[in-house]
Symmetry: C2
Subunit: 456 residues, 2 copies
């Protein structure tokens, strides 16, 4: 037995008091959002119609390295943070690997994931601006739940558009959001123009994150006193999620641990971007070196098979354009139970870093992911979310390589959440009914061919 | 802002190394279990047919105050313990009460409750004895999940009889247990003689804990290499659950906090007995005084409307007789969503303490409980289990009294678990379809009249 405890908890006094803005240390900044009408960078004024003011400032700020976390948000964080950094002793023993495995576990809150870190920040700034409420989309339901919790706490109205397939597969998610006073609508819906249009074109669609985003944005801009909030992709979200990485680094520093490999699942990039941020900052400043691995589903492989180009963040093509790795906003991914990873694009920050060679990416198959999830659950006790299990699988694969080579590498991964609301997917896995749909080259090429034309 | 953090976590080195056996400090010991055939106290040999040997020893030991926790169990505890002692700052503020409210939160593990504390202990001793597997019953599903997790970890077979109404209301619970490799059967079932008999007499029954216990015991005693394990009621379970109270007391002592009132929900008594044990020990030894309040559902009011007498622990009348507060083992409680509290009796240890005037009890209505649950969720963030919400309601009521009187009492309650698998009940509450069935005096009298005759 070593001196490293099973779980490292920081003291409240050791919790970060500022978020870290990774963009400040990037030489090649992420490309600005463009106005889809003019092709010009979105101004603060234009963004202010969609997002609340303070968040617009955070979205555009790529020079300030540290941004103070308001006292009210820090108080809220203390209700469920610091989250534990766990040493996976049991997993290591079961794998018989010389690798040392750690995971930052963000699932110990009712939203079931890291999403609450940004939800409370976005709700706080909306409240501060005197708004009535916010609208958003949710895939797996974790973001919607997180936002409902934050809004209930602050007394804000909350309208959630939930990807239809998740709405159907996760009936209880809706009830949790309702417990927190939110309204939940399956998307595409008849509530919005964009929803009606998508339903007319694809009557049987199971929805997608991109489509739900379009509806939520339209709802916000057409109602006085409402703004749209988003749980991933945006710079501001990665900023808020840096609390994950900052806590992780502080906990590791406290025990003199240095990770060799840092792994996270990647849908829009919020968890991965948050987890890696302080470590990536060190790498960018030449102070340390780490291997970073983004893990995405083979059914929606933005990094590994996408193109680095400007694209819409939403299917409805009403949002600003972002430069990112994308398989095309017109591509509707196959139903994949990791609903949180069914997004056609990837955070511009992470896309730029990947493009510049600072990180790697792998795509993994759903059935392999669930096999890893069950393996992990049985030895580490935690029932992981399908999204998080992508990172588990990659971590196990790296630990197995260490077993072959005898290397005692230190592997860190993000365990973003729990799978309590994913039992339909687990059931399908147990019953052998789970499939792996992998898009063909032709499908991706067709969607990429429809990318908006932008003169850069 | 005070110096007390939102969450107090002990260091691993501060975690208890022994369980505390409250019976050692009781002047009036809980009455022994009786053999229903002979009316004589059950011997170790007789109990050994049902329980594994080390657990029989713990069941019968009412003199040893501290029993060491084996190293293997302490390692397992470190995967999800210490659990946080939370200062409910937000709840206090919302209530505008001068009371200081603390709760010990046992829900941050995949079983979703404190049940894991005893599950791993019971599975460990079964494994140590070289058994093949264990059988058990589960009401809300938390105990079954906990046992599945413990068995998966140790490589034991696990057979769970799940109260039919819970099985139907919580389809995903079954899938969680399956993820951990357990087999789950709705009870009453055709697997056992007692199940077939109950089904013949009450064809439409929704089942009960007492009935599921009968089936699990029969399954164990009729299969070589199997023993029965129970998640509540028994002395051994309260012993294992003392880890809750020991951690709580250590955390409070660390910050110089002394509770005035200690509150817990009471079904079979495992959580309440565990939480109060070290505090009650001080009270019994005359070292300190505390008010203890057991909170039970008005639909199944063992303490407040039951009789202190010998009764069967199970509906099938095959288990030993225990002297306890009971509304009669033949009474089948109305469907109440707090499945974990639908037990006709109460732990003999707690029953004796209640009988001797060391604790109080209140019965509360289900709709009030859910109102308290939602109120709590919206300010403290945690979505509580219906069982736990009984304690929340009582704590809120005490805090409101403090507001009236201006007293700055310190209130401690046990938040035993999360409600992620109780969304059908929450949905019913939201839709206004929840009812409060309270047994009539005649119903209870009829069941009590059927109590077994025992010459004491």
């Amino acid at each position: 037995m070593t001196d490293i405890p099973y779980k490292i908890y920081l003291e409240e006094s050791e919790m970060p008091s500022s978020w870290y803005n990774l963009r400040a240390d990037m030489k090649n900044k992420p490309a600005p959002l463009l106005n889809p009408g003019t092709g010009k960078p979105m101004t603060a004024e234009e963004l202010g119609g969609v997002f609340c003011d303070e968040l617009v400032a955070q979205e555009l700020d790529d020079t300030t390295p540290y941004i103070e976390i308001p006292e009210e948000i820090r108080s809220f964080y203390k209700m469920y943070r610091p989250s534990p950094l766990v040493r996976a002793y049991c997993l290591e023993e079961k794998l018989q690997t010389p690798a040392k495995i750690y995971y930052k576990f963000e699932g110990n809150n009712t939203s079931g994931s890291h999403k609450l870190n940004s939800a409370i920040a976005q709700a706080y700034y909306a409240k501060k601006q005197g708004l009535k409420g916010v609208t958003t989309e949710t895939g797996a339901g974790q973001w919607g739940t997180a936002l409902s919790m934050a809004c209930a706490y602050l007394g804000l109205d909350c309208r959630v558009y939930m990807v239809k397939i998740s709405y159907e597969q996760k009936p209880f998610r809706r009830e949790v959001m309702r417990t927190y006073g939110a309204s939940v609508t399956p998307s595409p819906s008849m509530n919005t123009e964009v929803g009606r249009k998508i339903l007319a074109e694809h009557p049987g669609t199971t929805g997608s994150l991109g489509c739900a985003i379009s509806e939520a944005v339209e709802d916000a801009v057409t109602h006085e006193g409402y703004r749209y909030v988003l749980g991933s992709v945006l710079n501001q979200v990665l900023l808020h999620q840096s609390v994950i990485g900052l806590e992780t680094k502080a906990a590791m520093d406290k025990y003199g641990i240095k990770p060799d490999i840092i792994i996270g699942c990647a849908g829009g990039g919020s968890n991965l971007g948050g987890l890696i941020s302080p470590f990536m900052g060190e790498k960018l400043r030449g102070e340390a070196d780490y291997r970073f691995i983004a893990v995405e589903p083979a059914s929606c492989p933005s990094f590994t098979r996408g193109t680095f180009a400007y694209d819409f963040c939403d299917t409805g093509m009403i949002c600003p354009l972002a430069k990112m790795y994308t398989i095309g906003s017109s591509y509707i991914p196959a139903p994949n139970h990791a609903g949180g990873l069914r997004f056609h694009g990837m955070s511009p920050v992470l896309s730029q870093l990947y493009h510049d060679g600072f990180m790697e990416a792998v795509a993994v198959k759903q059935t392999d992911v669930f096999e890893a999830a069950e393996y992990f659950a049985r030895c580490e006790g935690i029932l992981p979310a399908p999204e998080s299990s992508h990172a588990i699988l990659a971590a196990i694969n790296e630990a197995k390589k260490c077993k072959e080579t005898g290397e005692e590498k230190t592997i860190l991964f993000g365990l973003t959440g729990t799978g309590y609301f994913d039992m339909v997917a687990y059931e399908k896995f147990h019953d052998g009914g789970m499939t792996n749909y992998i898009p063909t080259d032709e499908e991706i090429a067709a969607a990429v061919a429809k990318l908006p034309k932008v003169a850069e």
